[in-house]
Amino acid sequence: MIEDRNVDVAVIGAGAAGLAAAAECADHGLETVVIDREELPGGILRQCIHNGFGLRYFHEELTGPEYADRVVERAAASGVKFQMNTTVSDVRREENGDFTLLLLSEQSGVTRVHARAVVLAMGCRERNRGNLAIPGGRPAGVFTAGCAQKLLNTEGMLPGKCAVIVGSGDIGLIMARRLRWSGVEVKAVVEIMPYASGLTRNVVQCLNDFNIPLYLEHSVVSINGRERVQSVDVAPLHDGIPILEQKFTINCDTVLFSVGLIPENELAARLGVELNPATGGALVDADYQTSVPGVFSGGNVLHVHDLVDFVSEEAARAGRAVIRYLEGATAAERNPVRAGANLKYVVPGYYARGRDTVFAFRPLGVWASAMLEAELDGRVIWKRRCSHVRPAEMLLAELSGQLLNAPGTLEFRLRPEQDEAAVEEA
């Protein structure tokens, strides 16, 4: 017999996003269950043992596990039920608008949860060597940075003795320091862009502190070795094309990839949720509701954030929208929002008239200073100067509902005012 269970809200994923959304719902008296594959709630924060979390949300600097413990305690105190060690193997929307989730777990076997609303909070997966089709052999010793982080920080296993890190994303930078602090040599970090993909402070305290060279505008053109990695070939890039005549070899036994994250939206796809190609996440309205009524999304599964604090804030807003949805509020208006010049994307993808909304963006370049503007039907309704703009750092714009007073198309754009180089020369 497969056991059935009814709840108000099913939250998929017990990371920072899922816990924040769930806590809001449970605080309001909704029966809320959070479902996660891992044994402990907290998501990827559990393996992020470094500090630097929580300055915005908790006003103090925490490590990943400390941040996790706090948000778990907060959710538990609100009455959230945890269903850990559990995989959501299928989810579908019933004719009456409710949802059925098929769960698999070692403890309870096969069970079904029926929910009135679903929050997608599954986070991301890492892009890997295969996605980039990096040429060369297929030796052991090639890891994604997050996989190496898990092995090292939760299992206490070293990935190798001497590493090269591909990509300068935050996880890669953090792992460079972690490896050095674990007795593993780090030969280089190789980045295809002309700037680091991670936060500046991480370049300073994870690379500069250890004199680890950062090769900007370089690419790994081959991984060499048959059994275990023996070396990598690195070449400078010109207009994105490797100049193979100038390639050089770095000996190492380990290669870590920190080359970006991809929202894990396989369950969203099963529900028929419309995705935004620019983010890889769902296309949502001002309530973080997806194209499927009753399905909400927040955190890294919606778009990749750089700070967990923003994840918590965003998912809490999604949680509050779930409450309104279950109280029978009409769906938010869907007036399109567009990412204009120098912005990779904007979330949410729609605005509703009269509704206070926080918009999130990724800039496409590096500028010392730039003006972020919002234009509604040919009229600039809002602007703010942003300093030290870079793709690694998400931008936020909080617009009051009073500004969003007309229907039409809202377009955000970034007008560069000062180049980074100009400031450094000054």
């Binding site: 470094h50 490590t63 596990p65 936060l199 402070r201």
Partner: protein, 123 residues
């Protein structure tokens, strides 16, 4: 003639570009500019006089759930003490339960810095 040093603040993700200046040959206080908040100035002066870092690591435990327990220093530790501390931590094995904030090492090499657990672990 002024002596000038460039730093990037690591106090928060903002990463302010700081400039420290003082008279050539002077041993007086550095004048800091470029900081968004007072922590930037404090960081720069500390970094120029006695660089320190928060250290995070793990120690082996007898827990089933967390065979490695995360720990950290409760404040920045002088850089030269970091490697010896890590080598010491990796030789430890601790018994559970532990609570977040509980002290593992009380005073690292008389620096006044403590190593505390950075997570709760009951089983």
């Amino acid at each position: 003639m002024m002596k000038k040093k460039e730093l990037i603040c690591i106090s928060c993700p903002r990463g302010c570009h700081l400039t420290a200046e003082r008279g050539e040959g002077s041993t007086g206080e550095w004048q800091i500019s470029g900081n968004f908040c007072p922590r930037g100035a404090a960081y720069a002066i500390q970094e120029l006089n006695d660089p320190r870092r928060i250290v995070t690591a793990t120690v082996a435990s007898d827990s089933r759930l967390l065979p490695r327990l995360p720990v950290r220093t409760d404040r920045p530790l002088p850089k030269r003490m970091i490697a010896p501390l890590l080598n010491r931590l990796y030789r430890l094995r601790v018994k559970i339960p532990v609570k977040s904030g509980e002290v593992l090492i009380d005073d690292v090499e008389k620096s006044g810095v403590r190593v505390i657990f950075s997570c709760n672990c009951k089983e």
